[in-house]
């Protein structure tokens, strides 16, 4: 039986018209499926501009929607029609006054099989998310996906989560062989000389290596007011090797996951056997010197 999965990432720029963004995203998903992908991933909050670049604007709270809701319904219809597994990202209203930044997964039958609320919430110039999103309460669940009929345990944390080794480790400990991060990252408005692109790519390649997992990050691109999103959507294999990667423009990442490579990496480097769990207590503390 094959243990390969064809995956795609839709890297796109978002305009002001949210209905147009959704239509644009779903057209790209259809194109990715037509090219043979059985798992397709969209960027973080793909239906709209990246509003958290504006600090504390109450009008954007109205963009939050329930799950299931309009965006997941549209995604479900596309997943069912195309027979694919579809990963997206929704500004989720859990109840009035409690919103999350949530990755959702739709199965080929259109059912909602995953909802992972972004755990780590950034707050810096251009990325002031703490006003808009509560820290997720879902942990880092591993979903038993089966794109193209191939069992593929997958975790779907979001963006800032990707900088935290704890997230990738917990996902891998729970069985993940693929970690997918819908993302919105680009320039730093307050630090024009800083370019985080290589660090962003490298820290996730590191997660792939340390855990023997495949890692996929799907970013937006284009310029929205003060931020230019750098794209760079990629898939890394379990030795950290970049299997496919996009540049700064719109496009569809096409790549193949080889689950036998996951097994081989873990035979070569049996990190999970050797973890010193008796010494890891300090990870649960905030840290800092007394």
């Amino acid at each position: 039986m094959t243990r390969r999965v064809r995956v795609a990432g839709v890297q796109m720029a978002m305009g002001e018209d949210r209905a147009a963004n959704l239509a644009h995203a779903l057209a790209a998903v259809e194109e990715a499926a037509r090219r043979g992908a059985s798992l397709v991933v969209l960027p973080e909050l793909f239906t709209g501009r990246y509003f958290p670049q504006y600090p504390a604007r109450a009008e954007f709270l109205g963009w939050a929607e329930p799950i299931p809701g309009p965006t997941t319904e549209a995604m479900a219809a596309a997943a069912r029609r195309l027979g694919i597994t579809l990963v997206g990202s929704v500004y989720e209203r859990a109840m009035p006054g409690l919103n999350y930044n949530t990755a959702v997964v739709l199965a080929p039958d259109g059912s909602l099989v995953g909802r992972t609320r972004k755990g780590h919430i950034p707050d810096g110039p251009g990325y002031t998310e703490k006003f808009y999103f509560a820290p997720g309460d879902s942990g880092y669940p591993v979903l038993d996906l089966a794109p193209g009929g191939v069992p593929l345990p997958t975790a779907t944390p979001t963006c800032w989560d990707q900088w935290f080794p704890e997230v990738a480790r917990i996902a891998a400990l729970q069985g993940a062989q693929l970690i997918v991060y819908p993302t919105a990252i680009g320039s730093e408005p307050a630090y024009p000389d800083e370019d985080t692109h290589d660090a962003w790519r490298t820290v996730m390649r590191g997660h792939a290596i340390a855990n023997g997992v495949c890692v996929m990050a799907v970013n937006r691109c284009g310029t929205e007011d003060a931020i230019t999103f750098y794209g760079g959507t990629f898939l890394a294999g379990p030795m950290g090797e970049v299997l496919a990667e996009l540049g700064p423009d719109e496009g569809i990442l096409e790549a193949e996951i080889d689950l036998d490579a996951v097994d081989r990496a873990r035979e070569l480097s049996p990190f999970f056997r050797d973890r010193r769990i008796d010494t890891y207590g300090p990870l649960l503390a905030r840290g800092g010197r007394p």
Copy 2:
């Protein structure tokens, strides 16, 4: 006040004669100090061949020595004479039947200021260490070093520890701004097609990024029986940038640590502020699916 520290890493090949290896190492340390380094690092178990490539040979147990002992005394004399901080690695006999693989740090006054027993012990073809070394009991302490008079909180885990994000994270949480790994890594005798060099380098660059620390790995080189050690000694800055790096041959890595860059990286990316310690409990479990 300057917040820069000149550091050096001695990349060397080891021969059969252990006294000659020690003399060779100390000559290189002197050369590094002469070139201006105030912190000098030696490779893992630098006084001898890498005997753990041979499974379960009792004769090598006799190579273990106490700390303080001959190797640390020789290191202490060199550190005092040259006025440097010196990091080395000793096969430590704690008591008969209990040996560790231990990184030691000698201060410029010759005092032994650090002893960190390797926490994670590998065991695979060519690297069968579990027979020779008990898993360390020292945790991942941060030492208040001051090479050249510049305060530099430093952790000194060893080799296989470098693949585990937990180690770098715990060190950083306890205040480390530099993590130094004495190392012995090279080819994989049972997997001749595998080359771990890029993964090795990348996973540590990832630790640098995720923790906003400098990372330095000092490897041996040359061929010893079934293993060719690949060298590649390097220093990475807190954005994962490789500041200096050696090739596969003997040499002295010369580089400079800029502690202001650590502050800048942590201002740009305040990961420690945003860690979700309430969600990290699974890190203390062995993992795996039920």
